[in-house]
C-alpha cells in the first residue's frame, strides 16, 4: 500500500495560507483601487467645520488620512465576506483541507490582509498629505510629519481596526452561508435600526454604544485587548457554527 502520509494541522494551515496569498492576489488589487479612490475622496477635506462668530465666518478643511482608513475598513469587511462565499470555500477543498484548517488559514490570511490593509491605509493618508502640502494654498498649518511614535501608534491601531472589521465580515459571511436568507435579513435589520434610531431623534443607541466601546477607549492596551478578544470570539463562533457545513456539493 502506498505509504499513508501522516499530517499535522499547522503544516496544512501554513500551506493553505501561502496558497491563499498567491491565489487571492486580486484582493490586494481591489485594496489598491479602494485606497486610490479614498485619496481622491479626501481631497476636499476629510472633515469640514464651518462656524461663524461675531463678525466673521470660518470654514476649516481638515485634511487627514481618515477616509483612506475608513474605506480600508469597509474593504476589509467586504473581503472577509467574499472569502466565505461558496466559490472561495470550495477552492479551499480542492487540495488538502478540513474545516478547521480552512478556518484557521482564513483567519491567518485575514490578519495578513489586515496588516497590509492597515499599514497601506495609514501610509496612503500620509502620502495624501504630502501631495496636498504641495497644492494647498489657503494657509495650511502643522506640517505633514507626524511624530514617529504616533505613526507607529497609528499603524498598530489601524491594523487592529481593520482586523476587527475582517472578523465581523467573516462572521456575517459565515452566517449568510449557513442561512441563505440572512443575506437579506441582516442588512434590513441594520439599516432599519439606523433609520428608526435617527428618526427617534437620538442616535441609534446600540451602534453608538458599540462605537464608544472601541473608539473612545483611550488606553492602548485595553483597546488592543478588546479588539483581539472580540475578533477571536467572532472567528470562534463562525468556525463552530459552520463546522458541519458541506462543501463542494
Amino acid at each position: 500500500m502506498m505509504s499513508l502520509t501522516e499530517v499535522k494541522l499547522p503544516d496544512i494551515v501554513r500551506k493553505q495560507f501561502f496558497y491563499k496569498v498567491k491565489a487571492y492576489l486580486s484582493v490586494f488589487s481591489s485594496l489598491l483601487v479602494v485606497q486610490v479612490i479614498s485619496l481622491l475622496l479626501s481631497t476636499n477635506g476629510s472633515r469640514m467645520m464651518g462656524t461663524s462668530h461675531n463678525g466673521f465666518s470660518i470654514d476649516i478643511n481638515y485634511y487627514t488620512g481618515d477616509i483612506s482608513i475608513v474605506l480600508t475598513l469597509i474593504w476589509s469587511f467586504i473581503t472577509a465576506i467574499i472569502i466565505t462565499t461558496k466559490a472561495y470555500r470550495n477552492d479551499d477543498f480542492v487540495f488538502v483541507s478540513n474545516r478547521v484548517s480552512s478556518h484557521l488559514s482564513n483567519i491567518v490570511f485575514l490578519f495578513f490582509t489586515s496588516v497590509i490593509g492597515g499599514v497601506t491605509a495609514v501610509l496612503a493618508g500620509q502620502s495624501f498629505k504630502v501631495v496636498m502640502h504641495l497644492f494647498l494654498k489657503d494657509g495650511y498649518v502643522m506640517g505633514t510629519a507626524i511624530p514617529f511614535h504616533e505613526l507607529i501608534l497609528s499603524l498598530i491601531v489601524s491594523v487592529m481596526y481593520v482586523f476587527l472589521l475582517a472578523a465581523l465580515g467573516y462572521f456575517v459571511g459565515m452566517l449568510v452561508q449557513l442561512y441563505r436568507w440572512f443575506s437579506v435579513l441582516l442588512p434590513t435589520i441594520v439599516i432599519g435600526y439606523m433609520i428608526i434610531g435617527a428618526r427617534v431623534g437620538g442616535e441609534p443607541i446600540l451602534i453608538v454604544e458599540i462605537f464608544k466601546f472601541y473608539a473612545q477607549e483611550t488606553v492602548l492596551l485595553l483597546f488592543l485587548i478588546k479588539i483581539i478578544l472580540t475578533s477571536c470570539l467572532l472567528f470562534f463562533i463562525s468556525s463552530i457554527l459552520t463546522n458541519k457545513l458541506e462543501v463542494r456539493q
Binding site: L25, S29, S30, L32, V33, V34, G45, H53, N54, G55, F56, S57, I58, D59, I60, N61, Y62, Y63, T64, I69, I74, W75, I78, T79, T120, V122, L123, G125, Q126, S127, K129, V130, M132, H133, L136, D138, G139, Y140, V141, M142, G143, T144, A145, E150, L151, L153, S154, V157, S158, I191, I195, A198, R199, K212, A215, Q216, E217, T218, L220, F223
Partner: protein, 241 residues
Amino acid sequence: MIVAAFFPLVLLLILIVLIYSISKNIGKIPILQKLKIKWALVIYGAILLLALLFSYLIPAGDSSVYPAVSETERNEAEKAGELLVKAAYDRKNIRKENIEDVEINDQSTIPFEGEQLEISVEETYGPLTVLVERKLENDQKIEYIEYHTKTIIENLDLTDEIDPLSVSIEGELLRVMNGGFKDIRIGMFDKEFTISQFTSDNGVELFDDSHHVWGEHVLFLRIPKGVEVIDKYEYVHYVKE
C-alpha cells in the same frame, strides 16, 4: 432634518456597494490580469514609503498666513476672555483694571453736544457687553474703547482678522455695528482618528470643536456728565462708582 441624518448612512451604503463591486469583479478585468498584480502592489508600496520619507523631509510647515500659537497661549487667552467678561459683569471700570492679555482693539473720541444719547447695538453677531462710565464733567466728548481678548482657532491666532466695531453718532443716536463681514477659509492637516483616539482625553470625538477660543468683546463708553442715556433694549451696564 431627517434627510440630513440619512446622508452619512446613504453615503456609507454607496461606498459599501462600490467597494463590493470592485472587489467582486476586479479579477475579471482583462488588463488587470495581464498587468502583473504583484508588480503593481510592489510599486504602490514603494510609492507609499517614499511619500512617508518625503513627509519627514518637508520642513514642519506652520501657517504661512496666521501665527501659530502654543497650547498654553491658547489657555491663557481663554482665561483672559473669562476675566474680561467677569469684570464687565461686575461692572468694574476696565480702564483701571488692566486685566492680563486684554487688549484694546480700537479707541477714539467723538464730539457730542446733545443732552440725550440713545444707544443701539446692531448686527453684532455675537455677545457684546457695553459698559458706560460717567465722566465727572461735561467736556462734550464721548470716548469709546473696545477691549477684546484673543481669538484662537485650532492653534492659529486669528485675532487680527477681527475688524474693530464701528461706533458712530448721528444726531443723538450712537450706533454700534460690526466691522465688515469676513469669510476665512483654512486648510489644516490633522491627525487621523487612530492617533487622536489615544492622544485626546476622550477618544474619538465625531464632532468636537473643543479647541477653539473665541475672543470676548467689551465696548467701554465714557459719557460726559449730564447726558441722559436712552437704552431701550437695556444693552448698557453702568460702571459701579
